[in-house]
Amino acid sequence: MKGRAEVRVMLKDTVSDPQGETLQRSLVSKGYDVSRVRAGKFLQLELTGYSREDIVARLEEICSDILSNPVIEDYEYDLEEVLE
């Protein structure tokens, strides 16, 4: 099966986010009523495996070992099948 995953990697709530904070301040200074910004990463992956379970297992590995750093980040993803 071939799947397309969308992975979102976010800083944990307890970790301060210099990028998000800077963005928030600059949005406020431009007149927007924005109370909080958190910056993260968004990744789209196309990957192949024997089955959905197989792909999910690999995706979990990829997300936890490479795409995110568990000390500071959490991740979540959606996976959909690509029909060819």
Binding site: P18, T22, D65, I66, N69, V71, I72
Partner: protein, 243 residues
């Protein structure tokens, strides 16, 4: 006494480290390609140099930490070998979990290259024995992600175990916010592992080896001299040759 300098595809301080250990200090030094799965027992000290190991895409050090050689490095560290991670090398050690914590973007979101003051917090490590506790030294920094993060719990542990080795300070040695160039928690610039043989720091000692280039002072030499001392004590190195 042999230095091994690990080369990742985007390392760019590897040659500078080699220059320091080989040309300046006169010790046998060898580049070790990250992709080689080779035995490291012939080396006494490993250096993970600065640079942008994989362009620092995704997160600095993230992809490098998975290189084939890194399991060997883990083994080398596990059996007590000295491992020094400088800048991006520090990132790699963090990503491998050999040192605690993680790096966030500098709080001003800019790359910062300047000479900074550093206070030595622990002078009884194999990397800092030639320095004195409380001593203020000058080293260059050059990084975009050096904002060291650690949660409160672990921070307590590190403080208790004296594993915070270096902090950013002002000229007089005060740990103040204005001297915290990148926003690191508690001004931390370098930390060591519990066993005391794996050390990571953001500043570049290899750039402070000669008065001619870099800062006028040669404060970087003390780190290398300290490491060499370990081997002198062990009798590996003949005493005349340490600097």
């Amino acid at each position: 006494m042999k230095f091994g300098i690990v080369v990742f595809p985007g390392s760019n301080c590897d040659r500078d480290c080699f220059w320091a250990t080989s040309n300046i200090l006169g010790h046998p030094s060898e580049f070790i390609w990250h992709g080689d799965d080779r035995d490291l027992s012939s080396f006494d000290i490993l250096i993970l140099p600065g640079g942008f190991s994989y362009g620092d895409y995704l997160r600095p050090g993230a992809i490098a930490a998975l290189s084939p050689l890194m399991e060997r490095v883990r083994g080398f560290a596990g059996s007590g070998g000295l491992v020094l991670g400088i800048c991006n090398g520090f990132h790699v050690l963090l990503e491998m979990g050999l040192l605690p914590g993680a790096m966030l973007p500098n709080r001003n979101l800019k790359f910062i290259c300047r000479d900074v003051n550093i206070r030595v917090e622990n002078a009884s490590t194999p990397f800092t024995s030639k320095l004195a506790e409380g001593q203020v030294i000058s080293l260059p920094i050059a990084h975009g992600l050096g904002n060291y993060y650690l949660d409160q719990q672990e921070l307590k542990v590190l403080n208790r175990e004296k594993r915070i080795v270096l902090r950013y300070c002002d000229e007089e040695g005060n740990i103040v916010d204005e001297a915290n160039h990148n926003g690191s928690v508690e001004n931390i610039a370098g930390v060591i592992n519990p066993a005391g043989n794996v050390f990571g720091l953001m500043p570049h000692p290899e750039r402070a080896m000669e008065a001619l280039v870099g800062p006028q002072r040669e404060d970087g030499r003390a780190f290398f001299a300290s490491m060499l001392d370990v081997f002198k004590e062990r009798g590996v190195l003949d005493a005349g040759k340490e600097t």
